[in-house]
Symmetry: C2
């Protein structure tokens, strides 16, 4: 039971944006340097975050990335789902399910656990997670 | 945030044992046939379950696998940890942590979530999950 590395890095990266002035875009190079994040991989991750409308790319001089919405309106769950796809902790929790064994008594356990995880991640917004970055 | 395929299959496999008479070992071939589980992969998974003292291999004619303890004394968490290793939902939740960023405000979120997952999985025992197998 594990967060993907893509989601782990997406959370770290987007928190840097949430920790800086909203009106000032952060170049990806600078963001990676601040948190020792792998540059190539972060290009792909920020492209996914942008596609999910969580961050916006600002082109040109003084450009970079900024949050697409206020930090208190973006949840950890949204960040994770932007890179992992819809939360599905195992085969039967996909939509549609990838396992539909009839009368399975483990399925309600996964369902309940998935709800708990969604609730925990969906109730945390980026403004609560800002860190000390220059 | 996802269960590994190894853990998913381990849970399915061990539940077959929990669903059959405790004193009658189940050959791995039969177990795989009952739940359409991949034979080669299950050999490795049952070897891990055996190493974790959750199942016992009975050799010879009429041999196979049986639970090493009563089903109500084996939790889902133990089954998952037997194949995935100690539960660590992300880098900072390993022991020792693989990320120790000072003053990180996401870490308590992961810590709390990991506790919730441990608690949910640690409170479910195999006797609650038995299914209808021949």
């Amino acid at each position: 039971m594990k967060l993907s590395m893509a989601a782990e890095l997406a959370v770290r990266g987007i928190i840097v944006l949430a920790s800086r002035p909203a009106e000032k875009p952060t170049p990806l190079d600078e963001l990676c340097r601040l948190r020792k994040l792998p540059r190539d991989y972060m290009t792909r991750i920020f492209s996914l975050l942008s596609r999910a409308h969580l961050v916006t790319a600002v082109r040109g001089k003084g450009g970079g990335y900024q949050l697409a919405r206020p930090a208190n309106e973006i949840t950890l769950l949204e960040v994770i789902e932007a890179v992992e796809g819809p939360l599905a902790i195992n085969l039967c929790q996909h939509n549609p399910p990838q396992c539909q064994e009839p009368n399975c008594r483990v399925r309600p356990v996964w369902e309940d656990l998935q709800k708990k995880i969604r609730s925990a991640l969906g109730s945390k917004t980026l403004d609560e997670l800002v860190c000390d970055v220059q």
